[in-house]
């Protein structure tokens, strides 16, 4: 049942460019898709380890800058009269480096911030994102600061024997984002269902118990943070090569908020949650645009968000799955319910 739904959903998403010709809507789907990838990576932390990061955009932005700078080249002076000159590399190398560097940053932030939990963790992550934004804004020699990095090349896929394929059209970029999103989805799914995934969930449900059965808390959380950051970096790289200009505004807090909205409204701790929440909140502005005044669109956006949480406080996917499961089993008792999307057991 679950497999059928997944295959149908993938087939439906893959077929979109075949019947949807409107470039504006395709563009909206591509940018939404990029943010959905970011939301999926955030979900790995928030939904499966219970750590709420409000600085997730930092990894996304770092990925965007690393990828852009790799493909544009730079020439900077370092302390001690050293000049660091980098000639432009192909964008695909930027994509790979974006994943690696974002992952590395995830490692250090993970080490640092898992010393603190709860509200303190939230603030550390916000602080980290703000500091990175201010560095991007003020290190003008490297990042051009507010003058923005422009003319970032589109991603080109090397095809052995045929040279390379520049991904310029909407359809090509749509499939690129879809492929990266599917890869990220499968990677997270594998991880969650592995021994490591059980360790993460054990930690989230009862840290003391998890420690007593031999789970290495810091190691588990750090690995989750590294993978999460690396995926966000990949999304950032896609963003840089698709929009083709980035400035420090990419680190804006509202972008993190967008990802958090996608994860929690869709259902944290559910693999499909960020996808469903992401598609709704990514496309809602598109749907609202023609029907109301600009300020009213934002009011409606906030209103829809509050309404979803009131009706489905666990998020769309887990709440609907729960109702579906109850209807099938024919009882309404509060028995522990296996969530079909993830197989996560509710704590008894």
């Amino acid at each position: 049942m679950k497999a059928i739904i997944t295959i149908l959903a993938v087939a439906a998403l893959a077929s979109v460019p075949l019947w949807l010709r409107d470039p504006y809507l395709l563009n909206a789907l591509i940018t939404t898709g990029i943010f959905v990838i970011g939301a999926m990576s955030l979900n790995l932390l928030l939904g499966f380890t219970g750590q709420l990061s409000l600085g997730h955009i930092a990894f996304f932005g770092i990925g965007a800058y690393v990828s852009a700078l790799t493909s544009l080249g730079f020439d900077i002076g370092l302390p001690g009269d050293i000049r660091l000159v980098h000639a432009p590399w192909p964008p695909i190398a930027g994509f790979v480096l974006a994943i690696l560097v974002a992952g590395l940053c995830g490692y250090f932030v993970g080490l640092l911030s898992f010393r603190v939990r709860g509200a303190y963790f939230v603030i550390v992550t916000i602080s980290f994102a703000e500091v990175v934004r201010l560095v991007a804004l003020n290190w003008v020699e490297l990042t051009q600061g507010p003058l923005a990095l422009t003319n970032i090349p589109s991603i080109a896929l090397p095809l052995p024997g045929f040279g390379e394929l520049m991904l310029r059209t909407k359809m090509q970029n749509y499939y690129l984002v879809l492929v990266v999103a599917l890869t990220a989805y499968l990677l997270i799914a594998r991880l969650v269902h592995s021994h490591f995934g059980r360790a993460m969930r054990g930690l989230m449900e009862n840290e003391t118990l998890a420690v007593s059965v031999g789970i290495d808390v810091t190691r588990t959380l750090t690995i989750a943070a590294v993978i999460s950051a690396a995926i966000a970096g990949a999304a950032g790289s896609l963003y840089a090569h698709y929009i083709r200009i980035i400035d420090p505004e990419v680190f804006a807090f509202i972008n993190t908020v967008t990802m958090v909205i996608m994860v929690i409204s869709g259902g944290k701790g559910s693999l499909a949650g960020p996808v469903v929440g992401g598609l709704i909140f990514g496309l809602l502005p598109v749907a609202l645009r023609p029907v109301m005044a600009p300020e009213a669109q934002w009011i409606a956006y906030g209103g829809v968000l509050m309404a979803i949480l009131f009706v489905l406080p666990r998020g769309i996917v887990p709440s609907l799955a729960l109702r579906f499961a109850r209807r099938r089993s024919g009882k309404t008792a509060l028995a522990p319910v296996a969530l079909p999307e993830t197989g996560v057991k509710e704590p008894a």
């Binding site: 083709r244 709704i280 669109q297």
Partner: protein
């Protein structure tokens, strides 16, 4: 899950239907401006100015026998949205020419879309040098980049007897670009450059930066930012007892708003501006200026908004003139015609000169720059 996924195509279809209603009875001009978010106030002013131009043109019978229709979209002060809005205007609304996008990063984000769909855009406000130097032949800018402003200021510096100058600029492309271009010009003139301080966009307390400037040995401070921060700077400088001459640049000063909000603190400040709504008769096109100001007041807008909104008015008149010259509402023809227009804008003749790499030059018009001084709560024009 299937139910929710089913919703998505429905939303998409509904939007396609909404956006698809196009009539060939009008000639459309796309307007891509920030109406919400950080730049909402300025974007709204520009749109209101644009509306005056459109109504004026339509009252006179339109162009090519058709009325013009502004398709106004909010880019939410966000580069990603600005690019998406450009895409919508060009592909769904089928506009043959755009005006936008206020902030430089917003305009820069739109530029790849212009290349992709080969559609020209009139840039009405953005000041980043990069816009006209990176080789985008679909850009036609009527606002002065900071280098043009610096060049215009060059003739004035001798009269002001500047010796040492500090800068306090907003930390974005506009402020940084101004500090760079003005420093270069002043160094050539033998003026010493002291501190270059920055403030974040949206920052409200500049006392720390001003205290530092207060203790420096320069006699003049060049300040570049939008009107709200300027008001705060004048108030805070007065509170700190900062006695230096303050000159602001950038043309987003709204001196009337400054006088209203900063009061006596604004006295003695000088401003480089691109439009003179206080002295319509001294502008290059007094008739149009008077019409614009009368219409602006008639619609109940604040007079202070004039210095921002005239750009929207000029931008739409530029686009309309190009359509008329082209003889048809097609992007390629309008782009070619933009090179040949010569209209009297509110701040000088709008004639595009080539700028940027050869073969793919952008258009840059050279607007006038004026120096005004606020004295006893009144705007005075300094003859340059």
């Amino acid at each position: 899950m299937t139910r929710t996924l089913g919703l998505v195509p429905a939303i998409v279809l509904a939007t396609a239907l909404f956006g698809g209603a196009a009539g060939a009875q009008t000639i459309k001009i796309g307007v891509n401006e920030p109406l919400t978010g950080a730049f909402a106030a300025s974007g709204t002013y520009v749109v209101n100015g644009a509306r005056i131009a459109a109504d004026e043109i339509n009252a006179k019978g339109g162009i090519l026998g058709k009325k013009i229709e502004l398709v106004i979209e909010d880019n939410k002060s966000n580069p990603t949205e600005a690019a998406a809005v450009a895409e919508k205007l060009i592909t769904s609304d089928k506009v043959p020419v755009l005006m936008g996008a206020w902030g430089s990063s917003l305009t820069l984000a739109v530029m790849p879309k212009l290349m992709e769909y080969e559609t020209p855009m009139v840039v009405e406000t953005s000041s980043s040098g990069k816009i006209t130097t990176t080789g985008n032949p679909f850009i036609f800018r009527i606002s002065p980049p900071s280098a043009v402003e610096a060049a215009a200021f060059k003739g004035i510096v001798d009269k002001l007897a500047l010796k040492k100058v500090d800068f306090l600029v907003i930390n974005n492309d506009w402020g940084r670009g101004t500090a760079e271009d003005f420093s270069k010009m002043m160094k050539d003139k033998g003026i010493t450059i002291g501190l270059v301080e920055t403030m974040d966009q949206g920052a409200q307390d500049m006392s720390a930066q001003l205290s530092k400037i207060k203790s420096s040995d320069s006699e003049t401070v060049i300040v570049t930012t939008a009107v709200d921060q300027l008001t705060l700077i004048f108030k805070q400088a007065a509170a700190l007892g900062l006695k230096k001459r303050i000159i602001t640049t950038g043309g987003s000063q709204n001196p009337d708003q400054i006088i209203a909000q900063a009061g006596a603190a604004a006295n003695g400040t000088m401003h480089l501006t691109t439009f003179l709504p206080w002295f319509p008769d001294k502008t290059p096109n007094p008739e149009a200026t008077n019409y614009f100001i009368t219409e602006w007041k008639k619609r109940g807008f604040e007079f202070a908004g004039c210095t921002e909104s005239f750009r929207g008015y000029d931008g739409i008149r530029t686009a309309a003139a190009a359509i008329e010259k082209a003889g048809k509402a097609e992007p390629a023809a309008i782009k070619a015609a933009l090179w040949n227009i010569n209209i009297k804008g509110l701040n000088g003749d709008i004639v595009f000169r080539k700028s940027g790499p050869e073969g793919k030059e952008s258009g840059q018009s050279q607007p006038n720059v004026y120096l005004i001084e606020i004295n006893d709560g009144k705007v005075e024009m300094k003859t340059i």
